[in-house]
């Protein structure tokens, strides 16, 4: 599983982009998107996903149930 950004709620403020330890966030068509291949839910980096912690709109950076939970390498 990774996080995703709900595009309709994204203000495009860019706060999340530099916070991502995996450089998984980029701007596309006016809003920001998370690359599910790169996102690790910040596991191993921080206590909480950074994009969700800095996002000014609640429930905009959320767990994407379309993907399995990230497993930290053993």
């Amino acid at each position: 599983m990774t996080l995703k950004i709900i595009a309709s709620q994204c203000t495009s403020c860019s706060a999340c982009e530099p916070e991502c330890p995996n450089v998984a966030i980029t701007e596309k068509n006016g809003t920001f998107v998370i690359d599910p291949k790169k996102c690790t839910e910040c596991i191993g980096h921080f206590d909480a996903p950074q994009c969700a912690a800095v996002c000014p709109v609640d429930n905009t950076c959320v767990i994407d149930n379309a993907y399995p939970r990230y497993q930290a390498p053993a």
Binding site: T11, S12, C13, S14, D47, Q50, A53, V54, V57
Partner: protein
């Protein structure tokens, strides 16, 4: 934020930061008042129209800065470039989803710019508006939550337009990390928004802050914020950088507390304190807008400003402008300078013609001050306890040069035997809106200036004239296109004469409303 601090920040660290610091600090410490002459206590900054008792170094820093000198704001323009969209805290009076071109308040922009676009825009505006002397970065997020974009913009502009003053406005959370970089770019005006020094109160204003990779909430968040703000303020003033403190007055939450804030920031060397009314309407979608938190009335705001004035310089001419505002403080010309338009513009940055224009402006200022002093001299010896407010319709330059029906705002002056003192402004709906709704608009205007005894205009129609008189506000048009302060003093003198002769009886006026809705741009 630490991962962002590299690059530009380190490249300029420490440059020029220590130039004659002790000397400047000593001058700031010594200076009492802010270019004012007369008036009770400490008048609002620069309202005395000239250098007054300000040390020359400080005067040089503020004389062309509309946000740091009340007097300068009649003559000089500023612009903000919206290069800093990210923020690191959440405030209950801010909703980042809100974006409307007709809205004038902080945190709102129509489009964000890259540093390169911003630099082009600054040149385009400076070539079109020669009295534009100040470039500020104020958001729409926090400039220091976007340090690379902010400092890149300063870097580009300091190369291409070296005569433009740079300033920034921050919530202060990241400030201590960037003070040396700020000094390195010769940014000598920094505004910090400080709404509390008591974390219990802060918890009611800030739901969270994001610091060192963690979201903090409640009292812990507010404690972190206030510590960082005050530390940043001290670091700036130690380096001789002029600091203005903005505070949002939120009735029932921090209104009484702001007196304590005022003392705290004064003791840490802040130059100017700007207490602004909360902007709060349900349609803004902010926490305060939705929970019905009201803003202060005009009288409540003025009473708080007055009570802090004995302590330090108070700013009363703030228009709480957008993060992409362009023009004199009372106007917004940002629509003339959209990215599309500026990218198509051929820009010829002519430093000499800008200088020539600004010299003209200086002549105008000198004439205005002389006229006021002359008139003030005639008031000498008059003894009266009467203090009253008047509203003025002006397009700038310190003149009564706006038609009543065209005024988007009125400037408010307090008149007493010590002279005319600028004490605020009132935004109003355009009264002339193409022939409909005029009745309602006039009522709006009257509510906005209901605490005034008279309204000075360049021109006014017969109908509104009668309605104003009925509401107890005297329309005054015999000073059309003359200097505001000189005219106000002359009128006040005649008013006192009439009171003394028994022709009229002086009566106190009621309270007035601070307008909350969207600013409607004149066509």
């Amino acid at each position: 934020m630490t991962s962002l601090d590299v690059g530009t920040a380190e490249a300029v660290e420490g440059v020029n930061a220590a130039v004659a610091m002790d000397d400047v600090m000593q001058k700031i410490a010594e200076h009492k008042g802010c270019g004012t002459s007369g008036g009770s206590g400490k008048a609002s900054c620069g309202s005395g129209a000239g250098q007054g008792d300000l040390p020359t170094e400080i005067w040089e820093k503020v004389k062309n800065h509309p946000c740091y000198s009340e007097e300068a704001h009649h003559h000089y323009a500023r612009m903000h470039v919206a290069v800093a969209p990210a923020c690191n805290i959440q405030c209950n009076y801010c909703n980042r989803k809100y974006d409307c071109a007709n809205e004038s308040r902080p945190g709102v922009v129509s489009e964000k710019l890259t540093p390169e676009q911003a630099a082009k825009k600054v040149l385009a505006v400076a070539s079109t508006i020669p009295q534009m002397t100040v470039l500020g970065i104020a958001g729409p997020g926090d400039p220091l939550a976007n340090p690379e974009k902010t400092f890149k913009t300063f870097d580009l502009i300091s190369r291409t337009a070296p005569d433009i003053k740079l300033c920034l406005s921050t919530n202060g959370l990241a400030l201590p990390d960037h003070v040396d970089t700020i000094a390195g770019y010769n940014v000598d005006h920094v505004t910090i928004t400080i709404n509390m020094i008591d974390p219990e109160i802060g918890a009611k204003i800030y739901p969270w802050v994001f610091w060192k990779h963690k979201r903090y909430t409640g009292v812990e968040a507010a404690k972190l914020l206030t510590d960082r703000q005050l530390q940043g303020l001290e670091m700036l003033t130690e380096r001789g950088i002029l600091c203005k403190v903005n505070s949002v007055m939120i009735p029932g939450i921090n209104d009484k507390h702001l007196v304590e804030v005022n003392k705290a920031v004064k003791s840490r060397g802040a130059f100017l304190h700007n207490i602004m009314p909360l902007i709060s309407a349900p349609e803004h979608g902010t926490v305060f807008g939705l929970n019905g938190q009201r803003g202060p009335s005009a009288q409540e705001l003025k009473a708080l400003q007055d009570s802090c004035e004995g302590e330090m310089n108070m700013m009363r001419h703030c228009r709480q402008c957008r993060a992409d505002a362009v023009g004199l403080l009372g106007e917004d010309r940002s629509a003339e300078f959209t990215t599309e338009k500026i990218m198509a513009m051929e820009v010829d940055y002519d430093l000499e013609s800008r200088k020539a224009y600004q010299e003209k402006v200086e002549e105008e200022r000198v004439a205005k001050v002389a006229a006021k002093q002359e008139e003030l001299a005639t008031l000498a010896g008059a003894a009266s306890d009467i203090k009253l407010l008047i509203a003025v319709a002006t397009k700038g330059s310190g003149l009564i040069n706006e038609h009543f029906g065209h005024a988007k705002e009125f400037q408010v002056y307090e008149l007493s035997t010590s002279g005319a003192k600028f004490v605020g402004h009132r935004r109003v709906d355009l009264y002339c809106q193409g022939g409909y709704g005029d009745e309602d608009s006039l009522e709006t205007v009257i509510r906005a200036i209901n605490d005034c005894h008279a309204v000075f205009v360049a021109k006014i129609g017969g109908c509104p004239k009668n309605d104003l008189i009925k509401a107890g506000i005297e329309p005054v048009d015999q000073f059309a296109h003359e200097f505001i302060e000189k005219s106000a003093i002359a009128w006040f003198k005649a008013y006192l004469d009439k009171v003394n002769s028994g022709e009229i009886e002086h009566q106190e006026r009621g309270d007035a409303e601070i307008r909350q809705g969207a600013l409607i741009n004149a066509a």
